[in-house]
Symmetry: D2
């Protein structure tokens, strides 16, 4: 890979230590491994409030939740839209957690930015330059998810597009790549996490929920991500996973989230982080 | 695959023959195998005019060319924008060829629709629902390219999204999928072309230029696509490929385009088409 | 790709035209597109005799059939073994068709060579150097199938191993590669067929049966292979596909085989072959 | 996945705890995370002796090294053959380390079994049933590497083949799978490691050297494997990696191996192992 292709994102070992992106009180890219948790979709005030409390109880410092949902089928639940954004803001304020949520198109960015503390660019949109630029212009931290079949170089070029547009607060998120084996929804690329930490100064988090698509594999792959050097985890958790309107198979229960967080901290300490 | 997932796009053998999408005088999905040709990017009046004449000389009935270019690197040529659209319209009118060009974001669609005869949704955007809906609403025929790692079912669900939005004039374009082998830029999925012709009533064209990324492989894969049942070919051709500002390695010269068209017609006749 | 890595297999345009491998009366790599047909597995004298007659009736000039079957599960039918070889020899002699069948391990090669006119190395074994050398040493023509996830360069290096061992009669067989989409069993790489014809002087045939795994897609992909430049087709056909002990979903009936052969000849003529 | 397809390999939670495979004093599948280390290829007495001492110094309890090397190119170094086996035996005896090495074909198995304490089946051979059966019959523990594009189900069916042949001492080795991104040699499938631990009672080790192909990524992915639940690591290490006759880019130096082993133990303890 030619680091000259992404001069802003490239790690220049002598002159630039890792970038820390501050989202609320969470310092992504610092010593602490950050936990981002919340439901796949915002469904109701009760659901979101319970999910946020569970997140906080587990030690998460950022709340995630989808208001505009990118779905493969036009017949699937598409999210609550602005109502979902308002719920995120209200529940985030109640619980003291900053919120990150996804924008699906450039015209939506100002609306999302009015409610959120950080904006997510989803895997389906990693290649969509106009959205990258619109999110960059919103001035909030950006959580950029790797395209499901994007190479590491393409991922870094997407980050470069945001940096070049003047926004330096970019967090990369490895969320699994598509392979020939469909037993897991995707394949978590821990070698990619390790490689990104060497190739760029930007922080890197992992999303074991989308990487595996299976609840029973989330904890093991989350711990693997931390051991590989991830600066944080983004995990889907729902107060009642079985009733979830999207991604029911991969969301953790509140108890499972607490268990994950405790184990995550042990692994973090074992590799010299907190 | 469960055809009930895409009821509008599914082929119901008894009640619905193949859909024919009319673009100018070209009937995509009819007996004739249609040739869409033109440069990767619109670069100048001279370049586009020469490319359009070459396309017409080869028997192409639709002119293609990019004004807004989706690029992986923010440092690559991004296209001429509206100037490119105006050139496409002017040269299309001069040569009597309808023009198809890509829109990259919903807000761009009205502008593109003001100049074009059909709107392309590129491979990077196949999953982007807001763009699918915006293009559907423009009321023009839609050329929907398969995502570079989209399954056939995901491809059909993207088409379904457009159909559900009220636009029935959708042409599917197989343009190669991403595999482990990088000798060719992508792998042209001729089995996918054949499968799509059975799964849906929508017309299917092939793009051997992006599928291979190598000029010397374009003709063979173009003929293979026709033999597999493609209703048309979309081929990049440039008056001087070596000087092209994008995709220089895969564009055909005017002479090569004529040769391709002649061979294409022979194969089309061999399988009972014209 | 660096052709210096496979000096014996590489096409040196000025000095070496395409190699023709003679198997019985079939000249693989000549002007004529060769048809190899027969059942997946040899099951009984009646089944093989009916299959061979159907193959001959369709104009096939080589009979295929498996006696030693490479299977993923140890509980699947493993083939008739030497009894199957003897049947192949007897039925080949009756019908005047040379027979090609697979050897699974070096120690089996002399036995297979005693009955067969050409030896197949299957996709699972393309990387297995000891088997490549043992088959090379048998002195018969070799039908080398591409590994299901082998790059073109790895495929050519496997051929190089046989050539270096002193056997120049190698036929390459593209049989589909593994991708993320499981609708078809594999993805037929027609760009790979075209590329191989440029990279090497060895003849190239295609196997649309394993490439698609679906009877209804075999004909279209077979024609695509011929249009892409394949020197022949290897097709699974069974007198009663529904009763087949292996690959029941992808074998053609005798009538379908005749139809395929007729259409194949039309496409072959359209591209200047016979 | 249907566990009924591999009844012997399947984990039956109530009746069968995890299998422990004893190789020398190493109990693979027990509480301790086992370290297997050694050079890619056996090159000389001096090189192997130094590598073995480094392995022992790092706490490795099994010595690995290739005598018969499976190579893609026939022009690459193919290993020292029986001379390499004899060196492995001698150095293993000197250092008190049991040795594991690969057999490439059935006829080689008795020879390898005469020198080795466990036999490896390489990634290229995972699908080769005759070799699986021959190695099973040797009566030694088997280290079965996952095929580079084998699904988890295919991997388990290969293990089933060995178990069905009467040898229950099978260790599975995840060594990275082939994807569209070539920055790393393969993609280590940590979700696969976690899934295998749930699907089968057999022990699972990871090979971060082949998974990444890059020395600078070996430690991070090794730790990730342990965190994901691997029962051991198999790591390539060479007294002077730069001079290695194969895999020079991915072998660790003695100092790096010690560092890896120390960090491995910390992560193992953090997840409740030793």
């Amino acid at each position: 890979m030619n680091a000259a292709a992404f001069p802003l994102a490239a790690r220049e070992a002598e002159t630039k230590s890792g970038t820390v992106v501050q989202i609320g009180e969470a310092a992504v890219g610092g010593t602490e491994v950050v936990l981002v948790a919340g439901p796949c979709s915002v469904e109701s005030p009760e659901q979101l409030r319970a999910a946020a409390r569970a997140a906080r109880a587990a030690g998460a410092t950022i709340l995630r939740g989808g208001a505009f949902k990118p779905r493969t089928s036009p017949y699937s639940f598409q999210g609550l839209g602005e109502e979902g954004l308002a719920l995120l803001r209200a529940v985030g304020d109640e619980t003291g957690l900053p919120v990150v949520t996804e924008a699906l198109e450039p015209a939506q960015v100002p609306l999302v930015a009015a409610y959120a503390d950080a904006i997510q660019i989803g895997s389906r949109n990693m290649h969509v330059t106009p959205l990258l630029r619109a999110v960059a212009a919103a001035g909030l931290p950006v959580l950029l998810k790797r395209g499901m079949s994007a190479t590491l170089e393409e991922f870094l070029l997407a980050a470069e597009t945001i940096l070049l547009a003047g926004n330096e607060r970019v967090v990369l998120c490895e969320r699994g790549i598509r392979t020939f084996d469909s037993y897991t929804r995707n394949c978590l690329d821990v070698g990619g996490i390790a490689a990104l930490k060497q190739l760029t100064h930007l922080p890197v988090v992992a999303d074991p929920s989308h990487a595996t698509g299976r609840r029973e594999l989330v904890v093991a792959t989350a711990l693997a991500s931390v051991a590989a050097g991830a600066d944080g985890l983004m995990v889907e958790a729902h107060p009642d996973p079985a009733s979830a309107r999207s991604d029911a198979d991969q969301q953790l229960s509140p108890e499972e989230l607490v268990d994950l967080a405790e184990r995550m901290r042990k692994v973090a300490r074992a590799i010299g982080r907190s």
